[in-house]
Amino acid sequence: MSEFEFSSGDYREPQITIHSDTREILANARRDIDRYKLHDYFIVDADSHHVELDSWSEILEYIEDPVLRRSGKSMAEIWPNAKNLALSNHPPGLTMQDVGGRIPHQAQLAERVESVAGEPRDLTLVRRAMESMGIAMQIVFPQPMLEIGLHPNPDIENQLIWAYNRWFTERILAQEPRVKSMLALPFNSPEGCLKTIREFGEKPGVVGFLITSQRQAPLFKNEYMPVYRELEERGLPFGFHAGPDYSVGKQMNRFLSVHAMSFVTCNMVHLTNWIINGLPERFPKLKTVWIESGLAWLPFMMQRLDHEYLMRQSEAPLLKRLPSEYMQEMFYTSQPMEATNMKLLESTMEAIHAETQLLYASDWPHWDFDVPGKIAGLPFLSETAKRNILGENARRVFRL
């Protein structure tokens, strides 16, 4: 027999399941911290998620309308399986995200969490993920609530957004200064949006507001102008958080197709409306942040809108520059960063002025999340660009 060494290395869990600890699932991300010296960077994760449905019974208590609150609690209590869903519009397609059980962390993080002084367990899970990826600050969003713009009842939508915002600011943001959020606006009610900004705009951890992009919202309507002005005056960025919509699935038969398209098309519509109606000219100091649509759509939009604008300038008279030039002043979160063609990715980053406009985002714990090493390992970025994208741009945009 030839010479050999006895291995004394640790045994790892043979298989990662929904019960695995976040720190075990992300153990390989921890190795990137040394490899890329990530502790030398200030890393801000501009888009990550917690599971609000795990705390749904608490959130229902925050509904202000007593009749609706009673209905929600009753529904949660007596309907089978409604405990974590009452009044919500959880879309059935969302349960297809884990590719039939192949990506367990997308389905749930059912790991053991010791209760810490009555904190929601989500806070522990968020801290575990941050620690594993070397993240200093994380901007955290809900999950199914990001589909709330498709709720069939606008009054329930408004009540749920208000309840969730109250719960989140009190139970999560007030407890952990490293966790931040852009809160959703009840966009079907401009007055409700103003009330939301005024109530929550100065709460600890609130760094901006957003609309959940899956909705039929003509954001150019005059009723919304006071909302944009309020955000601009307060220096709060305005986000557009993408999501899936299975209604495009009427023409599509695979979740892959629905996800690939609908996470982008929703923001394509809003971005087109935003620019062509001259909103960047009307609110020049209002920063917009386009969240979770990836990057590959941006050079398409730049070329497409410039091309059409040059021939039909009379339909967009408020513009003083090319659409792509306005886009170069907007902000974008990086995930899911399409990186199958490095040349195209490099050109995209150049086109959008990534060095000053791009914000690293993990989207953890979703199935297509990106670790910080994905930015740190890009061969064509300068050291300054990496530093900016990983955190300094976010520090500036969100005044962290």
Partner: protein
Amino acid sequence: MKHLIAKSGDIAEGGRIVRDVAATTVGVFRVAGQLYAYENTCPHQGGPVCQGLLIPRVEEKLNAARGAEGFRFDETDPRLVCPWHGFEFSLTTGCHPGSAEIRLTAFEVTEEGGMVYVGV
């Protein structure tokens, strides 16, 4: 260097062990009587690929008119699916089915005298 990583009995048919060896982590699998060893680092973003689901390849059957007749499992082609984002690798070749360039790092694995060794 050759490392004694496990006793043969530790890796049953259809089973695996995942263990730190030298400066890395290795997964050793026994499928259809054959041992396979790969580094537990996915070529995509470095995820723990050897800790993923083992599941047969999914194939789509077409009929004579090239119409789709649905999905089924091909039990002859076991796939290892990285739990981070779902990249899928043929266990026998270590390659991603969509691109042979996207492949796992394989290690030599031998079994002698009731012991399993990997060359790392």
